[in-house]
Amino acid sequence: MDLTYSPGDQAFRAEARAWLDAHVPAAPLPSLETEEGFAAHRAWEAGLAADRWSVVSWPLAYGGRDCGLVRWLVFEEEYWAAGAPGRVGQNGVNLLAPTLFDHGTEEQRARILPPMARGEVVWAQAWSEPEAGSDLASLRSRAVRADGGWLLSGQKTWSSRAAFADRAFGLFRSEPDTPKPHQGLTYLMFDLRAPGVTVRPIGRLDGKPAFAELFLDEVFVPDEDVIGEPGSGWRVAMSTAGNERGLTLRAPGRFLASADRLAALWHERGRDPYTRDRVADAVIGARAYRLFTYAAASRFLEGEPLGPESSLNKVFWSEYDIALHETALDLLGGEGEAADAGGGWGEGYVFSLAGPIYAGTNEIQRDIIAERLLGLPKGRR
């Protein structure tokens, strides 16, 4: 076993670092969860894409560099260490794109992926519904057959980025009476500005419209925007659920950079004795997450699928992220109450609080770990 990078990987790291040094904005962009910030982040994505840095792991044909997993991890380490902006396109890039690679048609990939890579078309998720959260399979929004496509009706909620995004993807019930709730679902993509769509932004804990409700009233979707077979949506969606929980949603580079910033802050603040152990734990946790991910990537490269292990990942990073930000705010003392405390810690803290809730709550993940990794008997949910 080894943790050494090939000369090619090292050259790639140097190239990424040089580009980021030359291009990362001197001042942080306005918050991603505001109209102005959203537009600024789109422009940043366009700049990344111009030099093929926005989706390094994608094939060349769609705007990527055809990098393997190791180089993707290297790029993420450099990206976050450089203090580069958050990624406005991540819902599409991390969730929809892998689904298109696995289940989409060549036409869908050619049409959808390049504008996604450039930040021209930003995607939102349309999974949850008012009565279908953790129990996603019980969703009730309908897809009804129409000439040349489908008519979507119903309500989606907690759609991340939908306040300012262009399009959305999600599951709809296309067969009303099936023996099991996860049967008869279809995976569809639709336009957030299509006739019949109403987007109502929701203010998150700090009031910023980070997500939205979607009301759909006979929204027409052409057949070309169905992914996979009608009725097989659950299988299509779940085949890439591991991406959201596991390898791609949170690259270790993000936490390594945050832990470095926290350690630097702690040194600046005179090596505060009250938070010392928690700062150390943030540094240790970032290293653990990095090495855990390298091990998972190594297994993946040898052909092992990403299975329930991604549930270990998801609980770890989401709880880690909150602990790290809480430590930073505590280290700032009374100043930690300010929403803009210490340059981004406050906003990061608010964002981190959602982690244990989205992408499958941590309670759902623990059930998966208990049943599928430890082999414990099924219990009452």
């Binding site: 152990d277 290293r287 190594s298 309670e363 770990i369 430890l374 082999g375």
Partner: protein
Amino acid sequence: MRFLLDPEQTAFARSLDALLTAADTPAAVRSWGAGDHAAGRALWSRIADLGVFALAVPEAYEGLGPRPVEVAVAFVELGRHAVPGPSVETVAAAALLSEPRLAHLAKRFLPGVASGGTVMTLALPGGGPYVLDGDVADVELGVGVTGAGELRVAREAAGPEGGTSRVRRSLDPARRLCLPRPGGELLATGPPVVAGAAHAVRWARLATAAQALGVGLALLDRTVAYVKQRSQFGVPVGSFQAVRHRLADAKIALEFARPLVLGAALSLDPADVAAAKVAACEAAYATARTALQLHGAIGYTAEYDLSLWLTRARALRSAWGSPGECRAVVLGDGADAGFG
């Protein structure tokens, strides 16, 4: 970049696991704590025959090493079976005597370590105040690093004994805590001793972290098996969410400690080793608390074998650098940060 154990390393772990499973290790743990070391010494020889101690000894001195990854892999298994004896200390002594400027001492002691004939113990700055199993070891080294640094043989079974040793009870009945003996034959002085001691602390922390990980994994396995077969209210207690979620948390903590242990074995960097020690000992200790709670009263008895791992998890947390000391090393903070 391939951060996975090789098939040979995995096979080595499996052989050691099989040997220790077949050997009635719990009985050896109990007799060791009671002062009867015959079964423990026999187990030590069998472990040595598989190459565990040879992996910590350079090839020049009849060893197979130094191979820290394989040593870490082995110590996970020693922890998994709660093997008694100063195995961490023996490996640390081998690391100390592998210091290039102490070659004459390496020739004298290391072939015996590699073969399993010599059980060694020592205390070092950055470890604790006790020499583990000082009443049993064939060789006890005395190491001072204040001032110029000096290395002595405080006790050698074959030679005249220096002082007497009083055994203090540990919270882990299988660990026998002795105060370091003063005096003894002077072996070396100066910078080689200081450098060797710093190197030895890293090996000791790595081996302790690996052992703690193994202790935690055993506690998790035993508890998962228990809650599957123990029924209350007409169903296995393992079907209750309160129980399932505690075990899931234990699994998460252990699985994120594991790569830190292996990564530290690859780098032997003081901060990496200290991070592995914190994570593995915290995970093992949290798993011990969960194991005790989910077993209920039976877990709280000395008679039930679970106690062998419960008490070991507590002891390893304190041994070779407390959680706080190791966290200081991670941050480069505190008096011994440079030493760890």
